[in-house]
């Protein structure tokens, strides 16, 4: 391995990719491999960690280090990896079931700890690998094999969940927009701490085009807004629609009256308001960067304490570990 510039191909592993033809996962993989080549990533410094699900096969296809773990627990493995070697660039790949059902606890805790990892949640609003049961992000009324009369469970909104868990960086992108994915990966990568990205992902077999009313290409311009920190909240084919915060609400306005998006306010309230605004049919689905704040990084603090302890007590030796406390002699 030389330090010469790597291409997208260098990040493709020798494993045959086994997702269904047309699955949104392919586009995400391609975008990631391209992004890694562009950012000049070192394969040996990179670890992809995943749980279980179609999405969680991702690490096998990246020519980096990879750990395909158990269902829902990838954040815990990643925490151990980062606490051991903070130099590694760790990316977690999870699904809506993996991350929000069985692994909800670990996702919540890695977000609050602010471990320096990037989390990609492939949200297809379905359990793909187990063949199409509704998931914790499926809307009420989803009719699948395990919900013949429609699901009655209220869904999570992944970005709102992440913000609620004190996430320091939260964004949303979509598998059908390579440019937007690349831009979002880069923003997450630049963040120090846990960066959570929800990627709306098309499961062509079990939940085809679930996003056809929102982020699908023909409607996207009018149905979504790309939130860019420091820029006006403007959207629409003709860039004529605006949004602004009014009291405890987000309201539509003209492009001229649009507010400036700030995902870094002390309180997470504006980010939460924006994350949930599409519950109101008149408002767009938010994409882009929803939250971005600076907080201490978990593993940095962990290792700092070790350094402090060593500075104070000296590096511990085996001998003084054992030969400590009050001793006496038997002759």
């Amino acid at each position: 391995m030389t330090s010469a510039t790597l291409t997208k191909k260098d990040f493709q592993s020798d494993q045959e990719v086994r997702w269904c033809p047309g699955c949104g996962d392919y586009a995400i993989l391609a975008a990631m491999q391209k992004y890694f080549a562009e950012k000049g990533a070192r394969p040996e410094k990179t670890v992809f960690v995943s749980g279980i699900g179609c999405s969680s096969r991702f690490p096998y296809y990246m020519n980096t280090y990879g750990f395909h773990t158990i269902h829902g627990r990838a954040p815990a493995f990643a925490t151990g990896i980062k606490a051991t070697n903070p130099e590694l660039d760790v990316w977690i790949v999870t699904g809506d079931g993996d991350g929000l059902s069985i692994g909800g606890n670990h996702l919540a805790h890695i977000l609050r700890r602010n471990v320096d990892v990037k989390i990609l949640m492939f949200n297809n609003e379905i359990y793909g690998l187990t063949k199409g049961q509704y998931s914790p992000t499926s809307p009420i009324g989803t009719r699948k094999k395990s919900s013949p009369m429609g699901s009655v469970d209220r869904p999570f909104n992944p970005v709102a969940f992440a913000i609620g868990c004190s996430g320091t960086f939260v964004a949303r992108t979509v598998d059908n927009d390579a440019k937007h994915m690349a831009k979002t990966f880069a923003a997450a990568d630049a963040h120090k701490g846990t960066a959570f990205i929800e990627i709306l992902q098309n499961c062509v077999i079990f939940n085809k085009d679930f996003y056809s009313d929102t982020v699908a290409k023909p409607v996207r311009a009018d149905q979504t807004i790309d939130l860019v920190p420091g820029e006006k909240m403007i959207y629409g084919k003709d860039k004529d629609k605006g949004l602004r915060v009014n009291g405890w609400d987000i309201e539509p306005c003209s492009a001229e009256e649009a507010g400036t998006w700030n995902p870094s306010t002390d309180a997470s309230a504006p980010a939460l308001l924006v994350s949930n605004m599409d519950r109101n049919p008149g408002l767009p689905t938010p994409l882009g960067v929803l939250r971005s704040i600076d907080e201490p990084v978990y593993e940095t603090s962990v290792l700092q304490q070790i350094d402090e302890a060593v500075a104070k007590k000296g590096e511990g030796e085996l001998e003084d570990l054992v030969w400590s406390g009050e001793t006496w002699k038997v002759d």
Partner: protein, 618 residues
């Protein structure tokens, strides 16, 4: 230990070979501190000893009630001892509840020291006693020493600026002083301990030291006792430098030492649970040894973080008790499948479910050996005593690193909180087993096996070695495979690797006659009691032998041949016969007799001796 001297005579000093003393009081009375101080001082005096703390189930049950009683028993001796003793010679009861709960265990003719200051009607009611046991004749046959510790402490501390309530909190040191007088112990170690403990609170140092001294003086002045005693230092202990150590403390030190000997950074993932929490707490204080502790959100995350650490090139460790073991099962399977080193510590407690968190049992044995989905073999080793925990924690690290496997290290409540003198190992006794990492792609395969059957370890960060692993079945190259022959072969390889561990451990020694009618087989914390029981039975002329297993899976080589030399093999264990089941399935042609005890309390030596007698008389 009775003496014929009458009160008032010159107080004689009598020599005793060993004494078993139990301190019992309300959980707020500081009985654990009292017990630990008595232990500490006795250790410094040179006695051999063993302790058994008995914690109440509740942190703070209502004061004065039976569930709130906290106890601490220790045996100190001028000879090598292996157990905290069966029946106490002396019971110190700080209140009626403590008396009521513990009196049934006291030796016939034993001494009760009762704090009469706490025997008012209201105290009796809290202990659910209708009559006062001190006056109703129920203590007949015991020697009762009545001391109003409450008022004596108040008197002794009349000058102290502390509040009345705080003064009363010095009662345990008064009691300790009294017992120090009875057993001729020096006050200095506790005086010093108090001075450091309350460094920043001189008024507390002063009050507690005064109480200790007053208790000591009371023995002499008030002639409460007919004499006092001396237990000379043990002379049959191997020479060396000693310190006193508790099981979990030794285990935590062993984990640090094991990682050092492997030349790896120790990373512990853990979630608090009784009686394992003190391992997390101890390791958190070893940061200057490079120890990383992650207090995870649950036991699953704890083991997963530890596996992540091993994947990244550290030595991952996780500590828990039975309920946590149940949660870790799936992740253990991943560690077996990916063949990463990992030390899993299980401090067993009485189950099922939440069970009795502060009581002892050895009932996680089968769960440890077999309790995972799939054919998922894993070495299991079991600690027998507080000092053994140090050596076996190192042994667990050795097996984990040399065989690239998760290892379960079983201990239990009895060992974890028990204490004994520890002969400190010399650094030469600790043999390093440095881990090696592969960094050259030539000839490398992810699951290529060495002579032990172990696979190579590659540290992420190494250029040119990028690989992917996971819990899906894989072939030797690490590629996912569902080929039937490959699965059979990989399953065999995983089993063989664990089996190979047996070649790295000695065949256990038979103590006593090398053949005969009866062999007692112990594993884990029954070891000390079986030793004492068999020695007693042998001294009584019985032809009986014993053997102890440290490695409970895989079983050491040579057992079959040993068992063949005995007509019967008795297996006392604190569960419903789990080791007996293992033995019967592994070596069905021997005569194994199960001897289960599931009361949440360790075996008594007499129970072992009686069982030996009854079996040999058949």
């Amino acid at each position: 230990m009775t003496t014929t001297e009458k009160p008032g005579a010159e107080l004689p000093l009598q020599q005793l070979d060993h004494v078993v003393i139990r301190f019992a009081g309300d959980s707020g009375d500081g009985m654990q501190i009292t017990g630990n101080q008595f232990t500490h001082t006795s250790a410094l005096v040179g006695n051999d000893l063993a302790t058994l703390p008995d914690f109440p189930a509740e942190i703070r049950a209502p004061a004065g009630t039976r569930p709130g009683v906290s106890g601490f028993q220790l045996q100190f001796s001028s000879r090598d001892v292996h157990t905290p003793g069966d029946a106490p010679d002396v019971l110190v009861a700080m209140n009626p509840a403590a008396l009521a709960v513990n009196i049934k265990d006291l030796k016939k003719g034993g001494i009760v020291v009762a704090n009469t200051g706490n025997f008012k009607d209201s105290d009796l009611r809290k202990a659910q006693l209708e009559k006062n046991p001190l006056t109703d004749g129920s203590l007949e046959g015991f020697r009762v020493i009545e001391v109003d510790i409450n008022s004596r402490v108040a008197e002794a501390l009349s000058e102290s600026p502390l509040s009345t309530k705080d003064k009363q909190r010095c009662k345990n040191f008064y009691t300790l002083g009294l017992m120090y007088w009875v057993y001729s112990r020096p006050l200095e170690p506790t005086m010093e301990w108090l001075a450091t403990k309350f460094k920043n609170k001189p008024e507390l140092v002063d009050a507690n030291q005064k109480a200790l001294q007053a208790g000591f003086n009371a023995g002499d002045i008030h002639e409460l006792f007919q004499g006092h005693y001396e237990v000379p230092k043990a002379t049959d202990l191997p020479t060396g430098t000693y310190r006193n150590i508790m099981g979990n403390q030794a285990l935590a030190m062993g984990l640090v030492a094991g990682a050092k000997l492997a030349n790896l950074q120790p990373v512990l993932g853990s979630y608090p649970i009784t009686p394992a929490s003190t391992i997390l707490e101890s390791l958190a204080a070893y940061k200057h040894y490079g120890v990383v502790t992650i207090q995870a959100e649950d036991e699953i995350a704890a083991i997963c973080a530890a596996i992540g650490a091993s994947y990244a090139g550290a030595l991952g460790m996780t500590s828990t008790s039975g309920p946590g073991m149940a949660l870790k099962g799936e992740a253990m399977g991943l560690a077996v499948s990916t063949e990463l080193p990992l030390v899993i510590v299980d401090i067993q407690r009485a189950g099922p479910s939440t069970g009795m968190p502060t009581k002892v049992e050895q009932s996680d044995l089968l769960q440890s050996i077999f309790g995972r989905n799939g054919d998922t073999p894993m070495p299991v080793i079991a600690v027998s005593s507080p000092t053994d925990a140090f050596a076996l924690a190192i042994e667990a690290c050795r097996i984990a690193v040399q065989y690239m496997t998760p290892v379960i290290l079983l201990s239990d409540n009895f060992v974890a909180n028990g204490a004994e003198p520890w002969r400190l190992p010399s650094m030469d006794d600790l043999k390093p087993f440095p881990a090696s990492f592969v960094s050259k792609p030539e000839g490398h395969q992810t699951y290529k096996r060495d002579a032990r059957g172990s696979r190579p370890w590659v540290k992420p960060g190494t250029a040119g070695m990028e690989f992917r692993i996971g819990g899906l079945e894989k072939d030797t190259d690490g590629n996912i495979s569902i080929d039937p022959d490959n699965h059979r072969s990989m399953t065999d390889q995983r089993h063989q690797k664990v089996q190979n561990v047996a070649d790295s451990i000695p065949t256990p020694e038979v103590f006593g006659p090398q053949e005969g009618d009866l062999l007692i087989l112990g594993w884990g914390s029954t070891g000390g009691i079986i030793t004492q029981g068999v020695q007693t039975a042998q001294a009584q002329g019985h032809n009986v032998s014993r053997i102890h297993l440290t490695h409970v899976w895989p079983l050491p080589n040579g057992l079959d041949e040993i068992f063949g030399r005995f007509k019967a093999i008795l297996i006392p264990e604190m569960n419903m016969g789990q080791m007996t089941r293992v033995m019967r399935s592994e070596m069905p042609h021997h005569n194994f007799i199960s001897y289960p005890k599931v009361t949440g309390q360790p075996f008594l030596t007499t129970e072992i001796v009686d069982k030996i007698e009854s079996l040999l008389s058949k």
